[in-house]
Symmetry: C2
Subunit: 284 residues, 2 copies
């Protein structure tokens, strides 16, 4: 069966896969200085933001990604006060980060202000905490921002980027990771979205290699479902500045207050469960 | 971007989603008395079997489904000796079941012998244990077979079926589940593939309702990635004839001998971790 113009399709030639959502209609399209952004209304996934042909965020399933890019790391740190989000222009990660009362400052450094302005219009629920006094929305180059960040000023860096091509490519290398390491306090953590566990094992292996090359003491892989991304299965890589075991701040009252749809204490532990074939990938 | 004839696409109008794999070519197509079966050679997922337009099994990612339909249940039972697989004609579940030395008999009841004959040709690795003396390949109606199964003759029933439409519809109802319950020994378990946790919550809720209506004492939901199925995220429902807590036979030596690519002790526990939104689904 073939698809007509009533569907949006993300074709990934490299992996030989494609995923499609039935439309609705295209409600917005623009070319910014950085990329092409489109917004679609879909039949079953709410709104869909597409950047340079790649699905970025849908109303229906973004909770999986945003919860898993934030809560496992925040609950693995004893006292995360200062958080930087590199990318993340749809503000969904920022919203999750600010659910943690111990966070006193969350800076979002998004290169393309239009992503945030369109999120405010089509995904207002993700921008619900943008006016929180602890939130700082900075529009600029995340690589430059991190290079200039004061040493030991952050507890957590979340790299909520697009794929490692185009403007985001520099966010996946040892040079950038070294700047992150410098900006982190002792005990600090870094989380990087790291693509599909099934389709991108070589990239995952490289990310972990670059993180250790940059000086991070230990790395971990988390995984979770994300239906609109290639293969429907996604990962985040977590790196520790110091080598001590990760804490697990999973008290029921704290977790209930996060008001999450996917994440809970059992899911926290489940996300760290490494399949056999990924153990081999990371050991290689 | 649109897809041409070099892609196979499974379109699911009901969920407004589609998944595509780049071809290769179609290497086989036939209409059996039960369904249309096609085999494609894909560019990146090996061979792909399609039944009535739905993706069934690919060389690259079937290990996820087959391991998770068998090992969590077998390792939750203290001594699974007699196993029935309803459906499962590609023989991949049978192969995983027979990795357990305590299994003394595994009957596969597939309605369409052509599925198995084509699996032997295009997925020979899945049929590696078909000649095991403990394996019984029976081609016939699983509903009738279960109705006539001797009472208390089985320890585990695995319902490895297609979607609940067409020939498989009767495998999702309380009447069939009652026959399974009768055929199970005390302490026996049933596993049913139960579709996507994100897309098919109503169906999952119905399956659990029907299982309890049929007399099963307790039900559980497992989840795992399965890239070629809608949403890339899949589930299995596990039901207990008796109400005692599930055992966890997860000794390292036993698990290592299973030679699995996804499954291990941590994944066993992770698969039972219920996301918040599914807790609500199952409590409703």
């Amino acid at each position: 069966m073939s698809l007509d113009s009533r569907w949006f399709t993300e074709v990934v030639e490299q992996t030989g896969t494609a995923f499609s959502l039935k439309l609705g209609s295209r409600v917005h399209a623009e070319r910014t200085p950085y990329q092409n952004i489109e917004i679609y209304r879909t039949e079953t996934f709410g709104y869909l933001m597409v950047i340079d042909g790649c699905t970025m965020v849908s109303t229906r399933d973004n909770f999986l990604y945003h919860e898993m890019m934030s809560h496992p790391a925040l609950n693995s740190h004893p006292d995360p006060r200062d958080v930087a989000i590199i990318g993340g222009g749809d503000c969904g990660t920022l919203r999750e980060v600010l659910k943690h009362p111990e966070v006193r400052r969350a800076v979002q450094v998004e290169i393309d202000e239009r992503v945030t302005r369109l999120a405010e219009q089509y995904f207002p629920e993700l921008c619900a905490s943008n006016a929180d006094p602890r939130a700082q929305l900075h529009f600029g180059d995340g690589i430059a921002w991190m290079k200039n960040a004061p040493p030991e000023s952050l507890d957590l860096v979340i790299i909520d980027s697009t794929d490692p091509v185009g403007p985001a490519e520099g966010l996946f290398g040892a040079k950038f990771y070294r700047d992150c390491l410098k900006a982190l306090r002792p005990g600090g953590l870094l989380v990087q979205q790291s693509e599909s566990p099934l389709l991108h094992q070589e990239l995952i292996s490289q990310i972990h290699y670059h993180l250790r090359e940059a000086g991070f003491a230990r790395t971990h892989l988390l995984h979770f479902p994300q239906p609109i991304y290639p293969s429907g299965w996604w990962s985040a890589s977590l790196a520790q500045k110091s080598a001590q075991p990760l804490v697990e701040r999973l008290e029921p009252d704290r977790l209930a207050a996060l008001d999450t749809r996917y994440y809970n204490a059992a899911i926290h532990r489940a996300a760290f469960a490494l399949p056999n074939f990924l153990r081999e990938t990371l050991a290689a």
